[in-house]
């Protein structure tokens, strides 16, 4: 029996290890300082870099965060603290549906309401599309973290004559803050790796952007898609390099989550 379980574990991990290995081997050769900063070159230009793509991903995830963090946390608080209301049950369900929603459809939606009406691809459009992916994740993790805060702490605070909103802000959120931060970091990691919504909203670009509202914006994921399928060996190698950068960012974010939880384990271990 144990053997079967071990076999299952190995089979589950093998694809991941294989991919990491491939990315490392194929991408490492391309990485140098210039790679991070330079503008992209032609299909045979080995000195080209992915600077604008890195900047673009960073900017669009940042814009997405500006929208999604306050809205996601606000919604998460509502679902946790007013969980008995009908509105909460219905909108909570809708939130959960959105969590796994086809990102291509979300991208199409933003394409129609922002890109077509402004006649521009833009970083804002891309960031907005990413925020639609991030909000449900942040809301759900916030709700679950706050629900873990024991009711007795809320009652203790209210019994001291502390009004409800202050109890939520100063006691409940403060006690559940590790979970909230975890949710945000995981949502950021997810958004960084999205491609479909950006194809339709930010498209691609070969230079650093000078405005977030009227220019196509490069991103790591779209670059990997474009270069990887181009057929030009130099570009394809650079796609692997970009993939390596992306994987390292995702691993870094996931490690950040693991380390912050580990550090706060004693605080998180509540009665």
């Amino acid at each position: 029996m144990t053997i079967l379980i071990l076999v299952a574990v190995v089979l589950a991990i093998v694809p991941l290890v294989f991919i990491l290995g491939e990315v490392l081997v194929r991408g490492a050769g391309v990485i140098n300082l210039g790679f991070f900063i330079h503008l992209p070159g032609g299909p045979n230009d080995k000195s080209g870099g992915i600077g604008p793509a890195i900047a673009g991903s960073f900017i669009m995830v940042g814009i997405a965060g500006l929208f999604s963090i306050p809205i996601g946390i606000g919604a998460g608080i509502f679902f946790a603290e007013w969980s008995s209301s009908k509105i909460s049950t219905v909108s909570g369900f809708m939130n959960d549906v959105l969590t796994g929603f086809p990102t291509m459809v979300l991208g199409l939606f933003v394409f129609i309401i922002i890109v077509l009406s402004t006649h521009e691809f833009s970083a804002v459009a891309g960031g907005f599309a990413l925020s639609l992916i991030m909000i449900p994740i942040i809301a759900r993790t916030t709700t679950e973290s706050l629900k873990l805060v024991p009711t007795t702490l809320r009652e203790a605070s209210m019994a001291l004559g502390v009004p409800r909103w202050k109890t939520i802000l100063r006691i409940v959120i403060s006690t559940g803050k590790t979970g909230l931060l975890t949710g945000i970091v995981l949502a950021i990691a997810r958004a960084t790796g999205e491609t479909a919504p950006l194809l339709l909203t930010a498209a691609a670009s070969t230079h650093y952007i000078t405005s977030i509202v009227n220019q196509p914006t490069a991103s790591l994921t779209v670059l990997i898609y474009n270069y990887g399928t181009s057929g030009f060996p130099v570009w394809e190698a650079q796609a692997w390099g970009a993939a390596l950068v992306l994987i390292l960012v995702m691993l870094g974010l996931n490690l950040l989550v693991k380390l912050t939880i580990g550090r706060n384990l004693t605080e998180a271990r509540m009665e």
Binding site: S84, E155, A156, M158, A159, G161
Partner: protein, 263 residues
């Protein structure tokens, strides 16, 4: 019909009283019309078998009962002539006058011992460091915890033992300077030594406060209370001076409970 001890008319003035108090959890009627007067500056024990409504009763006194989804209260609770359930009354204000200590110690995990003690004050906007220090020491002394923690008040509140945490919660309730302290089986999660320390502090508290303590421990009620209320199935069965209720109970049910025939 509530059986009252013969010396009922000699009760000290009531600090808080209930008039036809009824409470429900959804469809379940937990309190079926309670009329009781809690004497000022005395310790009143509320006893009864599990499910009799004793916890519900005190949770109605500081309007915590209504925080449970589906919970409802009818009737009146009069504090100094004012019905606290009057729609014009802000429950938040009431809860500053009536404090509560819960069954399981619940210090705020993100706060130090000092911050826990003065939490009620700080959260309500008090910034004066001197006043906060003063009240922290005063309330920790009244809870018989000061000597054990004065060396390191910055330690997290949860780093204390169970008994110490409960005394911290008592200090936290006292720091807001309420008039009444409600205690919901405060010692049931504590060992005998910690229990003794908590009882010691309760004994001193009645000089300044009115204490109402729910307990299922008959010996504890006999030890520390001046008055005892015995409840059964949501009704007040008997009320009177503790010595009288224990030695010469008027109701047969009370007698059966005290002699351990049920409960």
């Amino acid at each position: 019909m509530t059986k009252l001890s013969k010396r009922f008319i000699e009760l000290p003035p009531a600090k808080v009283e209930t008039i036809n108090l009824r409470a429900t959890y959804g469809k379940v009627q937990a309190l079926k019309g309670i009329n009781i007067k809690f004497p000022e500056n005395q310790v009143t024990a509320v006893m009864g078998p599990s499910g009799c409504g004793k916890s519900t009763l005190i949770r109605c006194l500081n309007r915590i009962h209504e925080l449970t989804p589906g919970a409802k209260v009818e009737g009146q609770v009069i504090l100094d002539g004012l019905n606290i359930y009057d729609p014009k009354v802000d429950p938040v204000v009431i809860r500053k006058r009536i404090g509560m200590v819960f069954q399981k110690p619940n210090p705020f995990p993100t706060m130090s011992i000092y911050d826990n003690a003065v939490a009620g004050l700080k959260l309500n906007g008090l910034r004066d460091k001197k006043k906060l220090d003063e009240l922290a020491e005063k309330s920790l002394r009244m809870a018989f915890l000061w000597d054990e923690v004065k060396g390191d008040l910055k330690k997290p509140g949860t780093a204390l033992s169970g008994g110490q945490q409960q005394r911290l919660c008592i200090a936290r309730a006292l720091a807001v300077e309420p008039e009444i302290i409600l205690m919901d089986e405060p010692c049931s999660a504590l060992d005998p030594i910690a229990t003794a320390k908590v009882e010691e502090s309760i004994f001193q508290l009645k000089k300044e406060f009115t204490v109402i303590i729910v307990t299922h421990n008959l010996q504890q009620a006999a030890r520390i209370s001046d008055y005892t209320a015995f409840m059964y199935l949501g009704k007040l069965e008997e009320f009177g001076e503790t010595t009288t209720v224990f030695e010469k109970p008027q109701s047969e049910l009370t007698e059966k409970y005290i002699t351990g025939k049920f409960g």
